[in-house]
Structures are given as structure tokens and as C-alpha cells.
Symmetry: C2
Subunit: 350 residues, 2 copies
């Protein structure tokens, strides 16, 4: 049964509601309302045109109820993943009406005594998307999968690694492949309905979780797998998750996803790196375990006008010699066609 | 009050009881017995001469009780950290006599219903050393600590990173420093009585845990900190923990700890790397966040005779141009004297 989402993003929808954006754009579930008092009265497409959704934005959960939601989705993941206290009441209103709660926060809502009791009273469900299953320590079984695996890496968090993986999956499907999108974070899991939030896994087991995900793609009959990336290899806080995916997924190829406007890792003094250096450190490090090449650069040019976007793409191509494009602005087909040969070739060599 | 340990390591004491070895050698708590039927009747020094301990080895917990232990320590950490079922009975015997249980396993013994009840019945304590406290996401506060921080890295797990950190701490203390040994794993925590098992921390928070440990060293009035290392940067399963320490501790210098006899990462097909390559990838990667140099190579030559050890040390020196030594075989003073200048200099530059 499809869900009908009311998406909770108070004060965040216009700025940084990454989860809300991803679900509205890519989920097969319907969004019937967004809850954000800062934009109440508008429609989603008025605030974020490329989402092309007519869903109304309302001020409270109570206002959204008339639109018949089945589920309240927590639409943004604050740093550290904790639940802002002012959202508690809104969640309780939803539970009190028997709505399912879907959350990607680090705080497990199903383990919160107040939410747990409210849910039980109305027989409502709480889906803590980030709660990982138990997975074993990395074994190396992933080295024997028969299909090529492509991992997204990037120059920072929140630059579009999930989006690029989804777009490449779509492009591959159109060419007759059986691509599997491999979700490694909460939004990807909400969209695909399976996956593991690797950033939530105990460090010793994170590469094992990444390995389990690629093995699962095999069970889903993948002819090629596109793995959602996490963090960045020079991110002071989240690089260990990036590395867990690099070693645990044992990819055959990497796609570098970059926001060229980013000068620093968001929230830190650490500078972002030029393409050439990013390519070098990823290839250098992964070669110590199982070699994989960066086969293309997917740019997020949302902060540029058309001319700026074209320049950024041309600059990425000329400085690296690799295919480069913005897959949201120009569609994924040309980029996929350009990197496909490289992916297949490097996968065979490995 | 000092503990009197009976150390449980059935079938493992002679081979791979890393925790038992570390505690017997470095803890200020006393070991009154080791439990291992495979060596029962001998003394610790008969099986592992360099531990120089007269403690008897017995077959069961029941046999150890006459020696007056206060605590049963789980003396080995199997891969994945799960509790072998055959050890359950031994632990229950100890709990039934009111002994404290000290465990560094991933399985939390205090959360096991049977152990929990047995402990409560006798008012016995269970110390799950690996259970991490809640720590925040990495903030960057560690960049402002005033003392130099030295992190151990290595060519594999179980090569002596903790031992080298402890030996350097001892050498620094002898020269009048106020060194603090920073424990990042279960054995280090048992020895020092504080610390966080970073491999047990949720991936998103692992660098934050590393940061918290270095800040704690500051509160302990460190004039220099030596951080116990974990895993290896090209370890397919545990490299994310290594990277969490490299970024989270923001070290000023790295000491490379290697077992030169190791040709592959233990348990995997991944080859270990030559010194030059190890130095290059560590320095290359850490420079993207905060630069630190490898200032010396600490070798574990336990698998070599005297002549082989000397040759291995000479080879490490000539191929890297860095100070190299075996700090257990020859003591830490000369090595510490050789690297101290480098540590202080690079710390000032950073």
C-alpha cells in the first residue's frame, strides 16, 4: 500500500530539508502536505520549483489532517540527528490521530517512552529508518559479486550523491540494464524501501553493512549497482562512513559528485579539495584494498545560472579529462553513456 | 581498591589473548590466575616468558577461586567480539561467587538477561568496558589543545600500537613530561581505567569520541598525549576506526607501528604495505584536514631472533630515513629521545 505523506519540516523546508526534497522528488509514495509555518499558504512548487509538486504547505500537523495523510515523515535531519524539542508536540498530535511516523533521525522515536506509549494507544507504527539491522564484520564475500558496482563519492555532504545514484539508475534502466539503487542513508531508504543507514552502524561493523548491501543488490538480480555515497573522504566528522563504503562495497568504479561552489566542508574550517586531488586520494587509498577508478564527475550546479553551469562543467572536463555533467539540469543519459564503457571495462579488469 | 584478576582465556592464552597480555604486563591491578585448560598446571611465564608473571594457569573458574580473585576478566576478544557459548558457564560460576565481571566484548554482558539476573542475585558488578558513552559529533575543539598529540598507526591490527603508546608514555614520564596515555580500545581502558572503545561507537560519532578523548587528556593536565591506535588505514574491515582517530584526535605527529613479518592483513587477502607507502597514504590523507608527519617507526620484532630484529630495524631506518626501533626489546628511551624533537617541532608548526 502506498503511503500518503505529511512532511514535517518547520522552518527548514525552503533551506535544508534534504529528506523532504528527496522523498518528494523520487519516492513512489505521495506527498499530500508539507508542514512549515515559515512557508504556510504556498505550494511546494512555489518554494522549490524543480520539485514540481502541487502539494500545499501548512502550518501544523492539525492543518494537514484534512488532506488525509497516512504517515508523518520527519523531513530534515539536523546535525547529530537529534530531535528538536519543539517538534515533539507535532509528532504527538499525529500519533494521537493514528498516523504512522517515519523518521530518519539518530534519536530512535520508537524507543522514546512518550512516543512509544502514544503509538501503542492508537496502534500506530513508528518506522525508525536509521535503525540498522545486525550485520557481520566485513568478510570479503563482496569481492566475488558478478555485476559492476559504482559508488558515489563527493567533495562534501549534501551535494547530491543520492540524487546522482538515482539518476544513473534511471538512465541505466532505460538502456535495458537491471540496475539496483543501493540506499546507504535515511532518505535513500525511504525512497527505495530497503537499505541500511551506514552512518548509524557501530564503526567495527560499518564496512560489513556496506558489503551486506551490495550482496543484497545481487539478490535483487542487479546487472549493475549504484551505491548512494555518504560524507566525503576529507570530512572531519563523516569521513569514516565514506571509507566504510569505499572498502565495504568494493566498488569497480567511483563517480565524483561535487558542488563546485563549496569552498569549505559545511560547518568546519576544512577546505574542499580540487577535482584532481579528490580523484588522487580516492584512487590512491582504495587501491590499497581493491582498485577502482573515478570514471566521471557529476556536478551540482544549482547555485549557478545556465552560463555558469556550462563553464563549471567545461572546467571539470578540461582539468580532469573525464566526462562531467549536471545530471539534474541536463538529464543523466549522456553522462551514463559516457561513463558506462569505463565502468564495464574497469569492472572486468578488477 | 585494586582488583585481583582471574583471566578467562580458554584455549587462547598461548596464542592470541591480546587483552590478557596487555593487562598482565601493564595494569596496576594484580593477576592471580589465568584460566586455560590447554596450559593448566603451568605458570604464565612458562607460556609467555616476557610477561614475567608467576601467576598459575588453571583449568576452570572453580579452580581459580582458591586464589582469591575479586574479578573475572574476559581475556581475549574474538573477531566480531561475540561471546563463545562455552564461556557462559564459567562466567555464571564467577557471578555466583559474587565476582565482578570485566569484559571488552562487543556483546554487552550486562544486557544479557541471564548474566544480569545472576549478578543482581549476588550484588556482583559487570563492567562492559566497550560500552561507549554518548559523545557529540566532532566539533573541531580539539584543534585548540595546547599540548602535542601523538597517534599510533600501523600496518595491521594486533601489531603493538597500544604497547608502543604505553612505552612512549613511560619514556616521556622519565624525562619529566606529564604524558597521558589515551585509551581507545578495551585493553587500554582496562589498563588506564578510562577511555572509549572507539570501534564500538556509531560511525557518525566516532571522530567526536576521538576528539573527546584528547580533550579529556587536557583535563588530566597532559603536557603530551600518546593515543592508542586502532586497525590500519588499509584494513578492509577496521580502517574507518583508524580514520576516525586520524581526523578526530587531530594529532601533531604519527608513530608507525609495524610487524615486519606480516605480509597480509590478518584474515583477509589484502597485502600489508611497505613503510614508504604507509607513510605516504597517512600523511597524504591527514593533510587534507590537519597535517601531521610520521616521525618514527616502532617495530614489533617478536617473530625475529636478535640478528633478524637488528636487520629489520636497520632496514626500516634506511628505507625511510626515520628513527626506528623495537621499544619492547630495546626499551623506549632511545626512540623517544629520537622522535621527541620532531614531535615538538611539528606541533608548533601546525
Amino acid at each position: 500500500m502506498k503511503r500518503r505523506y505529511a512532511i514535517l519540516a518547520p522552518g527548514h523546508f525552503a533551506q535544508d530539508a534534504k529528506t523532504a526534497n528527496g522523498v518528494i522528488r523520487y519516492s513512489s509514495d505521495e506527498t499530500v502536505a508539507v508542514i512549515d509555518p515559515a512557508c504556510a499558504g504556498k505550494r511546494v512548487r512555489d518554494v522549490i520549483p524543480h520539485l514540481a509538486s502541487e502539494a500545499p504547505i501548512v502550518a501544523t500537523v492539525a492543518d494537514a489532517l484534512a488532506l488525509g495523510p497516512t504517515s508523518l515523515l520527519i523531513g530534515t535531519a539536523p546535525k547529530g540527528g537529534a530531535l528538536p524539542t519543539e517538534w515533539r508536540n507535532e509528532i504527538l498530535v499525529a500519533l494521537d490521530r493514528g498516523l504512522e511516523i517515519v523518521s530518519g533521525l539518530h534519536d530512535m522515536l520508537g524507543e522514546d517512552v512518550e512516543f512509544y506509549r502514544a503509538a501503542r494507544r492508537r496502534n500506530a507504527k513508528i518506522w525508525d529508518v536509521r535503525k540498522p539491522p545486525k550485520t557481520p564484520v566485513f568478510t570479503g564475500a563482496v569481492y566475488d559479486v558478478a555485476f559492476p558496482t559504482v559508488l558515489m563519492v563527493g567533495n562534501d555532504c549534501a551535494v547530491g550523491k543520492m540524487t546522482v545514484a538515482l539518476e544513473l539508475t534511471r538512465a541505466a534502466r532505460e538502456t535495458g540494464e537491471r540496475p539496483v539503487f543501493v540506499p546507504t542513508g535515511q532518505t535513500g531508504i525511504m525512497i527505495a524501501g530497503w537499505g541500511i543507514a551506514v552512518d548509524r552502524v557501530i564503526s567495527d561493523f560499518a564496512p560489513g553493512a556496506a558489503e551486506a548491501l551490495v550482496l543484497e543488490a545481487g539478490k535483487r538480480d542487479a546487472s549493475i549497482a549504484f551505491v548512494e555515497g555518504q560524507g566525503s573522504l576529507n570530512h572531519p566528522a563523516y569521513a569514516p562512513v565514506t571509507l566504510a563504503l569505499m572498502y565495504g562495497c568494493a566498488p569497480d568504479a567511483l563517480v565524483l559528485v561535487c558542488d563546485p561552489a563549496r569552498t569549505h566542508i559545511e560547518g568546519y574550517r576544512t577546505p574542499t579539495l580540487p577535482y584532481e586531488e579528490l580523484i588522487e586520494i580516492h584512487e590512491r587509498l582504495i587501491a590499497t584494498v581493491k582498485p577502482a577508478r573515478v570514471v566521471g564527475i557529476a556536478l551540482n550546479t544549482r547555485n549557478f545560472d545556465e552560463r555558469g553551469a556550462q563553464q563549471a562543467i567545461a572546467q571539470a572536463r578540461s582539468s580532469t579529462g573525464l566526462p562531467a555533467d549536471d545530471l539534474v539540469r541536463y538529464g543523466p543519459s549522456a553522462f551514463y553513456a559516457a561513463v558506462k564503457g569505463w565502468i564495464k571495462r574497469t569492472a572486468c579488469v578488477a
